[in-house]
Point group: C2
Chain length 214, copies 2
């Protein structure tokens, strides 16, 4: 197919004045997913946001679905980096919960995880998209697993709690909270949940074998 280079060969013979359109399309796709949802993230919608022609979507990405996946790739990688930085601030449970709360609030404001949630929801209506999205969730689950393992070890709960399952649950919970919060724009329940979780983390610490200190 007349698809240009996927990564490095793009800017080969004069891509344009102020940044290439390929990147603009990806950004526009992210915005479309966030603000209009999967169902309205059409080639025309995205192209209008990017200030270019609709045909360029197919020239650069071959299909709308592939552009959407590229958008998910970018926002996912970028956001995962920020998560890693934030989690590096602490290791024990009662240190991590406030961090999680802050990141969650940030996500609700900027709507990054919304992109992921939209893709997951949309995947059920688009043949072949499911596995691709699933592939891109794996790093998130792995990230949750690593952070949890560290926290469990720091709290002396190592081995007591099954990391694999809890990591899966954390990702699922996170997605569910995003979905519910975006449904009616009410993020109070989710924020209240994190506040309560902070309190509970303190209580749990008292029960942990090492008393919460390494």
């Amino acid at each position: 197919m007349a698809r240009p280079g996927t990564a490095s060969s793009v800017r080969s013979h004069g891509a344009g004045p102020q940044g290439d359109t390929r990147a603009a399309l990806v950004s526009a796709a992210v915005a479309a997913l966030r603000e209009d949802g999967f169902g309205r993230a059409s080639a025309r919608n995205i192209a209008a946001r990017a200030g270019c022609n609709q045909a360029l979507v197919f020239y650069h990405f071959g299909s709308v679905a592939d552009l959407l996946l590229a958008a998910l790739d970018e926002v996912s990688a970028q956001r995962l980096d920020q998560y890693r930085d934030a989690v590096a601030e602490g290791t024990s449970i009662d240190e991590l919960v406030p961090v999680a709360a802050r990141i969650f609030r940030e996500d609700l404001d900027k709507g990054y995880v919304t992109v992921l949630a939209e893709m997951i929801g949309g995947a059920s209506s688009t043949p072949g998209l499911g596995p691709e999205v699933a592939k891109r969730i794996r790093p998130w689950r792995q990230f949750a697993r690593d952070a949890l393992d560290d926290a469990m070890q720091a709290s002396g709960l190592d081995g007591v709690i099954p990391g694999e399952s809890v990591a899966h649950a954390v990702v699922a919970l996170y997605l569910g909270l995003e979905l519910l919060a975006n449904l009616d724009g009410d993020r109070k329940p989710a924020l209240a949940l994190f506040k309560d979780a902070e309190k509970l983390a303190g209580v749990l610490r008292a029960f942990s074998p090492t008393g919460g200190s390494t």
Copy 2:
């Protein structure tokens, strides 16, 4: 609008031989949401499933969105009843977790909560649908809250854990698990999670003030 009676006045002057089409359309809508997802739950798709004409969707429900909401209403009410029955089997945490696991497996098989998940996902792309779906989630959160309150009381954890927040979290987790399971058809992580939760419920019981017995 030329909309027929919403509930009782339907079968007033000869609705047809084998059950009225209105009910058939609702069932077909449920199936469409489950099997094809929100994005493909079109009037044509649903009508074909119901074995009738596409125009009848608009005659009976005015719009596709309203038919979808009717489908959500039915499956939600029906399923909530079954949940109430199941939860009545026990009150303490370690009694409820196996029950929750069984129901969850049942839902994955029959795909009832999928309908809810699809509507939540689709709502972000359909103007005005969000609040309507949110309204229909409220009974679920209330149900979770009641079940949890009973369990907390039976386990002597009354007051320790904030019911409101945990109920919200339970609903969110449930939705997230469904979404992830439907993404690639892999329900193993979710089922493993419930198995681990059963074990943990036993451990938690040992820590609870009353030792798990009322």
